[in-house]
Each structure stands twice: as structure tokens, then as C-alpha cells.
Symmetry: none
Subunit: 236 residues, 2 copies
């Protein structure tokens, strides 16, 4: 799947830079500018290590021209005001619904803009899908590069395995060992049995919730064993 | 639940503005600045309709001072490089894991910064939870306001999905008591001092990360006291 990021009639060069940076943060490379402002220094400055995306941006006079030239299969429009006053009322899906449904083929274009005004009714009509980000009613208008970051993030999230999968989270067996050691200690604390049971459940739950790493498990296991031994040596 | 957004040693006034705007987009109001740059016009300009958040920002000299003053129960650090070269290796959770576990009680602080460098090891040590955004390996360093937008979005999204159920998260004092009791027990386990210190840090972190409720705190406190007494009666 090819994903194009389209910025319609950019007015602020800095926003082009921010958009390029955010694209690269999420592995996107194809920037398209429709009738942009002049690409001043601030566009390159805000792009930081994504300058080449600004340099290589494709520039068109209209969305239609771009669609035709790049053979776009799915045009995704973004809007701050879902289901608004368009000629044909439509609903907008959320970024994660988009990411779930975007598939893995074709040439997809994500269309952002215009700063302040949004896309025109005609542009929205061209879109196959509309996406809107759930925001506070009090101030729903986001900066375009921040809105884009959220859409990119959702697509990236669904596409890639989380780094956390590669990380060393305590596995099922590790957690069992820790819970068992806690249970042993709790059993030695002279609680009445109903109370003991409650305490064991609470402990188990806290352990389950704490994202303990494999390494932390080792430390914890050692500490819990020592507590156990201390109590045992008392009992003898 | 109160959520504070903390920006550590902001260098670029524009980023303060972008952060404030994004906060308001997701219904967050409490901005905290630790040793910020001068609040020039661009901070207010980029905030657009969130200027009052910049005007009302709380300013502190250190994170510690802020934690103490606002009685923060959960300090959430953000990092681009999870599980890096810290003294004690740690894992970072993703924004949606954070949003899933953040509960609805207590005073939570989301800490962002520094631009370019990230948080220091000492600051990361203070944090109960670390969050990292899954990004492209080729260019993982995001602008701080874009990273923040994604964290805010996930929290906002989960808040909407799961109607607020009043969970009573352990407060600042409760957590202090639990941590102190754990420290007392660990001190009695004949560890060499450097190891003891590590174990105390790990324990504190697990407690911080587990979003323990007020009720669970009561149970835990009782259990930890009993363990303490058991060990003490042995020592006499």
C-alpha cells in the first residue's frame, strides 16, 4: 500500500515542516502539496530530520489533478466538523476506525487542510471516507499537523507490532511464581481465612496490573523469598 | 481525576503555545511549566484559542517542588527511547495502555520535555510510569507537542469509551505510607546497601504503576504492617 499525505493550500511554511516531521516519525514519505505557500526556511527548519520530504514534495494545482496523476484508489478527507453542512450529509469515522479498515493495498491519500477553514464541500465530496478526531466540544479545531500526527499514529499502530511486544514483560509463569510467593507470605500472617482470601485476590490483581518486567520479577522473587524465610525462621 | 500537563524547561515559546492548544482540544486545562523560557508572543500566538492556559500556567523550579505542592499521586514520564540506558532498566507502556490504566481518581501529571534531549535520568527515576509512542525506527524523535497530542487523544478517547466510574485511587499520602512500609521491610532483609536501594526503587515504581485504589491501600497497609511485625518479633 502507498500512502500519500496531502496538504491543501498550506499558508504557514512551518506547518509544512511539522507535517513532514510527523510523517517521517510514522514512516510516511510521500508529501503532496496542493497550491502551497512559498516554501520558506521555516518549512525546512520545522521538518528537522525530515527535510528531504519537503524537498521531494509533489506539487499540484488541484486534488483532482493529483488523484488522476498518482492513480489514487482511496481518498481520505479529514474534517473537524463531522456530518456538517455538506450537500450530502455524511458521517465521519474515527482515526482508529480508519486504521482498522484501511486495508493493505492500493494508493491511499490522506487529505489535510486548509488551516483554519478546513476542506471545501467540493473537496469533501471527492473523498471516499471522512475522518474526524474526537475532541473537546469547547475547542475542537486542531492545528493541522497535530491532527495529522494522530491519524498517522493510529495507522502506524495498527500496522506495526508495538515495541512493547519485544520488551521484557513478565510472562504468565513469572507472574504465577510471584503471586504464589505472595500467597505464601499472606498465609503466614494469622489472618482469618475470609480476610486472607481477599488479601490474596487484591495482591494478585495489583501484580496483574503493574506491567512488571522479567528483570523486576527476578528482584521481586528474591525479596519475597527473603521475607518468607524471615517469617519462617521466626516460626521454627 | 485531575490531570496536569508538565513541560520541562521549554526552550521554544511556540511549543508552549502548541501544547496549550492541544491540551484544550482534548479538554485539559492545567499547564505546568518547569523553568520555562520567557513566554514570548509566539507562545500566545500558537495557543490560538487556548491563550488562557498559557496565562494561567503554574511555574515551578523543579518537578519535585511541583509534586509536593500539588500532591501528585501518579507521575507519568514520556520518553522517545524506552528501556534505554538508565541505572535501573525499565519498560515503557504505550499511550493506549496508559489510557486504559489511568483510572479516574487522584492527581495525575503527564511530563513532557526537554525539546531534543528528553527527560534526565533523575527525572525519569521520579516517574511512576513511562510512556513511549510507537514510532518509526528511522526517525523516532517527535516534536513534544505532537507527542503530547497523541497521549491526550488516547486519554480522551478512553474517557469517552468508558463512562467515568468513580474509582477511588489511592491519594498522595496513602502511597507514601505504603512505600514507607515496604522500605521498612526491605531494610530488614539483610541486603547490601546498593542492592537495598535498587529494590526500594523497584518497589516504589511498581506501587506507582499499579493504580492502587484507596480500599486496596487499606488492605495492603494492614498486610505490610503484619509482615513488619512478624520480622520484628523474630529480631528481638
Amino acid at each position: 500500500m502507498k500512502i500519500y499525505t496531502v496538504f491543501v493550500e498550506a499558508k504557514t511554511p512551518g506547518n509544512i515542516g511539522f507535517l513532514a516531521r510527523t510523517m517521517k516519525n510514522f514512516g510516511l514519505k510521500k508529501l503532496v502539496l496542493i497550491k502551497p505557500c512559498k516554501l520558506e526556511n521555516s518549512a525546512y527548519y520545522q521538518a528537522v530530520h525530515a527535510r528531504e520530504l519537503v524537498q521531494d514534495a509533489l506539487i499540484y494545482d488541484s486534488i483532482e489533478e493529483f488523484i488522476e496523476d498518482q492513480k489514487i484508489t482511496t481518498l481520505v478527507g479529514t474534517t473537524g466538523t463531522a456530518g456538517g453542512s455538506y450537500n450530502i450529509p455524511r458521517i465521519a469515522i474515527t482515526p482508529d476506525e480508519l486504521a482498522n479498515n484501511i486495508g493493505t493495498g492500493g494508493n491511499v491519500a490522506l487529505v489535510f487542510g486548509r488551516e483554519g477553514e478546513g476542506l471545501s464541500n467540493e473537496e469533501l465530496e471527492l473523498c471516499d471516507v471522512l475522518v474526524t478526531i474526537p475532541t473537546s466540544d469547547e475547542y475542537p479545531i486542531m492545528n493541522i499537523s497535530h491532527a495529522a500526527a494522530i491519524v498517522f499514529y493510529e495507522i502506524f499502530k495498527h500496522k506495526k507490532d508495538y515495541p512493547i511486544d519485544e520488551m521484557d514483560i513478565a510472562d504468565y509463569e513469572d507472574k504465577k511464581v510471584i503471586t504464589k510467593l505472595c500467597d505464601e507470605i499472606i498465609s503466614k500472617l494469622d489472618y482469618p481465612s475470609h480476610k486472607r482470601k481477599n488479601i490474596k485476590i487484591i495482591t494478585k490483581r495489583i501484580i496483574g496490573r503493574a506491567f512488571i518486567t522479567g528483570r523486576e520479577t527476578n528482584t521481586l522473587r528474591g525479596t519475597l523469598k527473603r521475607i518468607n524465610n524471615k517469617i519462617d525462621s521466626k516460626e521454627e
